[in-house]
């Protein structure tokens, strides 16, 4: 059955009950987690914002000259200076007496690695900016190179499994603790699998005067090796296994964590992705790395106190619960 309405589709596009800051027609891959995340962030933020966008997939796929998907003022920065650009935009708006919020956006490469110094400076100077990191755990736009965000044991083109190592040798950088150590008012992690929670955190951050930070786990079907239709399922398993805890930190202190009531084995998450394929060979090294990743998840569960105790809800406090008529939780 094909759906038809009497209303022309172009009119429908313009009468959706949400702010379409990021328009259709962008060139992201099928099922791109980052595209979804950026859409959710900007739609929650509303029209009174300006964006500073680091080089990376998001910048490339939304804005191929001469077109752009953005319906809000948007400025592209270098890979390494988004924090500095956003600081300048904020200072200029302030000088004009405007209350428009600045949102800086970058990938994990642009945030954890190459733009980190500018970001740290922005936080230290106390600019009134929300910095959003779309964490797809590698340099995806240039063809899947490892970043300091790439998880331990994951395969990238620069961390191939082989004799020397089972994928990336090092650990994923604990960026949220480093950010929180700047003693900023609000820092949080979110996931595209929990859109209500994600939007809530955007609104919470924007309501705060001062630097805030959001790290969003955003699957990359191409780089992680799964079908586009699995993006949410994979992101959900990352949370449910404890590998990607959803937490909030205020002034460096843990202020909230989404409890896991039905903890899933890490192997379930890993199995869904080709980048961890080598961990499922019948070899002692593979088994050891599997256990290692499980231990990392267990460690998260322990330090953030993720294990909930009420069997009456899913592991999201209802954040992913849907209801008739679309009344979501946030």
């Amino acid at each position: 059955m094909t759906a038809e309405t009497v209303v022309p589709i172009s009119d429908l596009r313009n009468s959706q009950l949400r702010f379409r800051a990021m328009e259709s027609g962008h060139r992201a891959c099928l099922g791109c987690g980052q595209a979804l995340a950026a859409r959710l962030v900007t739609e929650a933020a509303g029209p009174d914002v300006m964006l500073a966008n680091a080089t990376g997939c998001l910048e490339i796929f939304t804005t191929p000259w001469p077109e752009s998907s953005w319906r809000v003022p948007w400025m592209h920065s270098l890979f390494e200076n988004t924090g500095a650009l956003a600081s300048g935009m904020e200072a200029a708006l302030k000088a004009q007496g405007k209350s428009t919020k600045v949102i800086a956006m970058g990938g994990d490469g642009g945030t954890f690695d190459i733009g980190f110094q500018a970001l740290s400076g922005m936080l230290e100077r106390g600019h009134n900016v929300l910095y959003v990191c779309y964490d797809n755990e590698a340099y995806m736009n240039t063809g899947i190179q490892r970043s300091s965000s790439t998880p331990h044991a994951a395969m990238t083109t620069t961390s191939p499994p082989g004799k020397e190592s089972m994928g990336k040798r090092h650990l994923k950088k604990d960026i949220i603790s480093i950010i929180a150590a700047h003693h900023i008012p609000y820092a949080a992690t979110a996931s595209v699998a929990y859109p209500s929670d994600l939007r809530k955190k955007v609104r919470r951050a924007l309501a705060i005067e001062g630097p805030t930070f959001l790290q969003i786990h955003a699957p990359c079907p191409l780089g992680w090796g799964h079908e586009g239709d699995q993006s949410i399922a994979v992101a959900r398993l990352a949370v449910q296994s404890g590998l990607f805890p959803l937490i909030e930190l205020e002034r460096g202190r843990l202020a909230g964590a989404m409890p896991l009531r039905d903890v899933r084995p890490v192997a379930e998450y890993l199995k869904a992705q080709q980048r961890f394929r080598h961990l499922f060979q019948d070899a002692p090294r593979a088994r050891e790395e599997l256990e290692h990743l499980q231990a990392l998840a267990d460690h998260n569960i322990e330090i953030y106190g993720l294990r909930g105790d009420h069997p009456d809800k899913l592991d999201s406090e209802g954040a992913d619960t849907v209801r008739r008529g679309g009344a979501r939780w946030a």
Binding site: M1, A3, I9, G25, V192, G228, I232, D320, V322, R323
Partner: protein, 563 residues
Amino acid sequence: MALILTRGGFSLPGTSINFKTGTWRVQKPFHRHLSAPCHSACPAGENAQAWIAKVDEGLFQQAWETLVAVNPLPAVTGRVCHHPCETACNRGQFDEAISINKIERFLGDEAIEQGWAYPVDKPRKSALRAAVVGAGPAGLSAAYHLVRLGYNVTLFDQLPEAGGVLRTALPAYRLPRLVLDAEVGRLLSVGIDFRPQHRLGRDMSLDELKAEYSAVFLGPGDQKSREWSIDGVVQRDLHVGIDLLKEWVAMGSVPQCTSAAIVGGGNTAIDLSRILKRAGVQEVHVITHQSLPGPGIPKEDAMTAIPREIDQALEEGVVIHPHRGIRRLILRGEKVVGVELVHMKKMDKGGKKQTIAFEGTETVLHVDQVIPAVGQEVDPFGMEDLLHHKHAFDADPWGRINGRDGVFVGGDARSGSSGTMSGAVGDGRRAAEAIDAYLREGLPPEEDTTPTIAFGQLNVNYYEHAPRQQEAVLPVDRRKGTEEIEGGLSASQVSLEAQRCFSCGTCFACDNCWTLCPDQAVLKTKELASDGSHYVFDFDYCKGCGLCAEECPCGFIAMEEEI
């Protein structure tokens, strides 16, 4: 003046809207309605998913109207149906099934209380006339649906009141007569011409009916008890189970005894066992060669009585002897003083099902009544030449009797019927549709072949665990008279139950696809889209990633190849 673009405004050529990513697509999403298991399993043909949706929206009257478009007796089925819908309910594989039967009862009761009118127009005077014989659930349903289809209906029953078995044999503690009277009374007043105390074969013949009416529906039920004896021996003071039950239901009394053994595993046996207990019989035994129903017991091996009723009988002190048969009646003179029991089981023997007795397992049970409740068959009176000495009518599921134009049959009297009230209601509806088709010289409507959605086709990550709402049940020591044993659910409980429903196979406007499409290729509509949902796909931009299909909680979106 220079053009000023407002914030959020844009110039079309400068935006990516200009770029139609829909051209990348090799597969596309489409909305696909599947039948919910509760719908597929209902013998009456009700679509519980649809009316539960209305309850969830707070539209109780609309919910009832949707329900009675199929089953006009929800206050009754809401009490006596064995609810296979709940057994099939997908939610049962998540935590506990939706309390569908109790929501149905609530709606039925609410309609009576509020006086909601059946959504039926009175037939025109000039419309064709149909006769319905038997005012049990099958006949009532057929009459009602014929009126809905615009026919003038005359409904005959040999008894002074309508209801069939519901009135003559169902104990009031299961079905209060106030409820039965109210619902059947309201149903008859939709414009059915009811003629009580008219017996086919005595007051009118089938030929007369055929001459006077354009079509005839027969719903006579099973009125004759099956013959029973043990190797040709019967006691002199034989009482048949169904007769005792009817006596108690009508008069409130049964012949006194101190202990009794009832033979049979159906509803009559169980209902009788419980009323004997109420009548003061100290020891009541039920002897059946079937099993107690339970997990892992195949349906064909289990007692046919409703499991819930069996449980309540056990609670009330009835002793059930499963896998047991009677080898010998122990008589003193012509009076029974006991039975010799033996372990028995129905088994495959040379390709045939046979009840086999196991030697060496004989025991003696002393009782002063042995009461057969081994089933009924059609009373051929007035219908002899249609029955051909069979115990039930041979007819297809539409009630069409082979070679008999214009005569239709349904309910217990139809061979292959489910022997349940909801089955009788379904038979009546289907027969009405078949009659309508026959009179229009067309074919009956096609069977609905929509596939049923399985639990695995849902994405249950979006549903919360929530306990099933429980009704109040009368404690055993207060189950004496006719007070109803099972309570109903309150309006707020019913709403909570409706919220638990997964809406299997039908969009419930949860917004998930709209929220999760990375390409904003799901658009929301205020008006209903043509498929009944509130969403359309924007195929100019949909890349066909399949995320929406994967994440739709209720399985309403599927992908299909394109090109």
